[in-house]
């Protein structure tokens, strides 16, 4: 099957999967309890509760509530977030942009370091660089994110004062427009290098704390994959032809070693996006993860629904992209087979 046909077929199935997911998730969240609590306070009287129920249609049967929700979604209304005290549609893009920017920064850290370290170690198997890289990898994979993040926070924010927390300097944040919500991109668009520096500076600690764990996984995958490739016949053939070791590594072995690594990277990005919860809380990063943690703790079902739907669609697309990239890198793979 051609890649185009395969992609089209997958895209056509997408709405069915999304609707199915929404029904399941909506039912599960409502079965778990009414969302009315998020709109109430300790002192609200039963009569006041009735008024709130009417405002949000929570006095209707479950299927009717779903219809209200689905109708709202189709009209661009994802409901009211009790946690954010604002419409979900208003807050979601801001949170998503914040988390995306952090996830991308973390991915840059993870991919560059992971592939670099993996290649470095794989090409020097069982030598000192390999052992050092293994220690780095194991520590990254096994160290709890919250502990590493707090360590970075204490050393680099509290004691050294090198890096700030939060997303930006409020004074700098206020002086530029935010057409994309990605502060680094917005700063470039505005041509404000002070703002760019500020945005990057705020990214450093959370991106390292999140990216370190993924770095370790990618490096281990790259290393083992590279070692396998370096033992293949085509590598020996390349060496026999007199190709320098550097070119054997870069042009032949590394390209093939990247195939399984790409799968890990693709899946890691989804987890990076989701796994920002701890870092967002610790570094006061106003992203999806922190918002969602609050929403789950407080039973903010409108927000939970939006987030679950988003991540469902995200994973469907990520898997699709991974499949396509996989097929591109490995010509033996037949899409749709």
């Amino acid at each position: 099957m051609q890649i185009k046909d395969y992609v089209l077929r997958r895209l056509m199935i997408l709405p069915i999967l999304v609707i199915g997911t929404s029904i399941i998730v909506f039912t599960l969240t409502r079965v778990g309890g009414s969302p009315i609590g998020i709109y109430l306070s300790h002192e609200m009287s039963p009569a006041e509760v009735v008024e709130i129920e009417e405002r949000f249609h929570l006095d209707e049967p479950l299927p009717v509530q779903y219809v209200y929700w689905a109708r709202g979604v189709l009209a661009g209304d994802l409901g009211w977030s009790g946690v954010a005290a604002a419409p979900v549609t208003q807050v979601f893009p801001q949170k998503l942009a914040a988390s995306m920017e952090l996830a991308i920064a973390s991915a840059i850290v993870a991919v560059t370091l992971g592939i670099g370290l993996g290649t470095f170690a794989g090409a020097r198997r069982n030598r000192l660089p390999d052992h050092v890289t293994r220690v780095v990898s194991i520590s990254g994979a096994s160290m709890p994110l919250f502990w590493f993040a707090i360590l970075l926070l204490i050393v680099f924010w509290v004691y050294l004062g090198w890096f700030p927390i939060g997303r930006s300097d409020p004074d700098i944040f206020g002086r530029i427009q935010h057409p994309t919500g990605l502060y680094t991109v917005d700063a470039i668009i505005a041509g404000d290098f002070g703002a760019l520096r500020d945005a990057v500076w705020h990214l450093v600690l959370p991106a390292i704390s999140i990216g370190y764990g993924a770095t370790a996984i990618i490096a281990r995958m790259m290393r083992s994959s590279l070692i396998e490739e370096l033992q293949e016949d085509y590598v020996d053939a390349a060496r026999a032809k007199g190709l320098p070791e550097r070119l054997v590594l870069r042009r032949h072995a590394r390209r093939n070693a990247l195939i399984p690594t790409v799968t890990v990277i693709g899946l890691s990005f989804g987890f990076l996006l989701q796994g920002t919860v701890v870092a967002e809380i610790i570094f006061r990063w106003p992203g999806l993860g922190r918002w969602m943690a609050d929403a789950v703790l407080r039973g903010d079902q409108a927000t939970i629904m939006a987030y679950v739907m988003f991540t469902s669609i995200l994973f469907l697309f990520v898997n699709l992209i991974v499949d396509v990239v996989y097929a591109y890198l490995d010509r033996r793979v037949v899409l749709g087979a």
């Binding site: 300790h42 002192e43 954010a84």
Partner: protein, 577 residues
Amino acid sequence: MPTRNRGSRKARGWFALLIVFALVVAACSSSDDSSDTTTPGATDTTAAGGGDPSDVQNPGVFVHAADDEPTTLDPAQVEPGEGGETMILQVYERLLEIAPVGPDLVPSISTEVPTLDNGLISADGLTFTFPIRQDVVFHDGSPLTAQDVKYSWDRVMTMDLPESAADLLNDTVVETRVVDEFTFEVVLQERSASFLRAVVTSMVASVVSEDAVEANGGIVAGEPNEFMSTNMVGTGPYKFVVWNRNENLQFEIFEDYWGTPANLDLRVEIGSDPDVRVLGLRAGNFDMIETDPSFIGDLEGADGVVIYSGGLLLEPIHIGFNLNMPEDELPDEDTISGDFFNDPRIRQAFNYAYDYNAFLEGALGGFGDFNPHYIPIGVFGYDPTAPLYDKQDLAKAEELFRAAGVWDEGFTVSVITEEANLFETAALVLKDSIEGLNPNFTIRVLAVAEAQFDDAHASDPVPYAMWVKNADPFADPDAYLQAYAHPDGEWGVVHGFRNGYQDPDRIAELIDEGAQELDADRRAEIYAELQRLLYEDPMWLITAQEGIANAHRDWVEGFVLNPLWPRPNVKFALFDK
């Protein structure tokens, strides 16, 4: 071995690169002297403060790290005790305010505090007149007149949002009038001794700009106004700038403020993890943080940190008894009868059995005090000579349980509360106290998510026999007694107080009399009598009144805190550094 040599050179290169990176980072963090004023470690050599001036960070702006995000910035929508009240206090003003020190009322938008003596309260006590200050302008530049006051109050009463404190006005006010451009009058349904303190100074009575509201959606009955929920146009010393959700709220000094202007701009950082707030205060990035007694251990002895521990929160933590129980709907494990708590001996026995000291010294770390009844210490009418339950008396509890006929048979009762906070701890202390008294007694602590608790507690009838929570803060005793003691009050009806009071009519009569009594001495006598009656006939078990623990940097000048203001009980405009 050329390969090995090349590898060594590369390794040295990596090492050199790391060193260069570290040096660049260090250089960048220390070289910026002008543009990046909030980079941690930045200093302001020109700032003056209580500590070493060279240490003062974030010059020109007061940075407060708050616990949670406001749900609204609209006085017509905010709930008492909610985070939005803090912001409203800084930006909006009311006719009268509570003075920084003590409980006294002081003029604000009204130039005088109405009294019978100055003639601004009519002889029948029903009409209050407020002379309006003439040099007040809103943050949008429009002048404030009596019409704005009338509009603000009428708006709250018309919107009548269930989540708000609109009842304070709707249950009290018959009519609002504009007498002339700078005279506002309000007519009450009945004489009210608490009107000025409980209503006029409350956040719901804040004066908003009519122009701003009408230009942004106007007034719709029963519907929140989205613009006002997320924006503020007031007359106070701070002007609202921006609300970056989950990040911060920013305010700037209002240059045309009629009174004493604020000293610093204000930034309220929101939603920090408690540990991050503590670290941020220690590092000097925050000037003040939202605290409670559990923070104190982390901050004691920290350089440059001042811990203030004066005063008590006006939100007594209490355990409720349900006298209106739907027996069939109680948890299956509960073995009590539907009228279990109707017997005052049972309620007294629970009060005697509770280990107050364990809760105060343990959970509250000693920050707090025992409080007998629903008039908190610090509020007018609190009688320090009234008897109180403050010591565990197991012998007395046993005697009462035996007299009530439940000692031998025992009971199992569930108590619902929020999880992972002081309320859960209070419930666990109850469990420990009661179960330690008699092995036939079982207390099941159901600690649930806040939303789930609120849903259960707002049911009618409440499907649990007991619960733990705190009270909303009020500045006048009548609000507490109407809500928490009156047999025909909001909670009295839901929780069936008439099923339990030995003389409900006497309790009702006294509360109603206290509500209307304008003579302060007589009013105090009424509340003293009520506190004695409620000791004999307790409708609640009040575990403690939580103490205030505030932490701020030593460079903060002019620090003052009043428990009668919404949490964190401060007005930032009074501070400097």
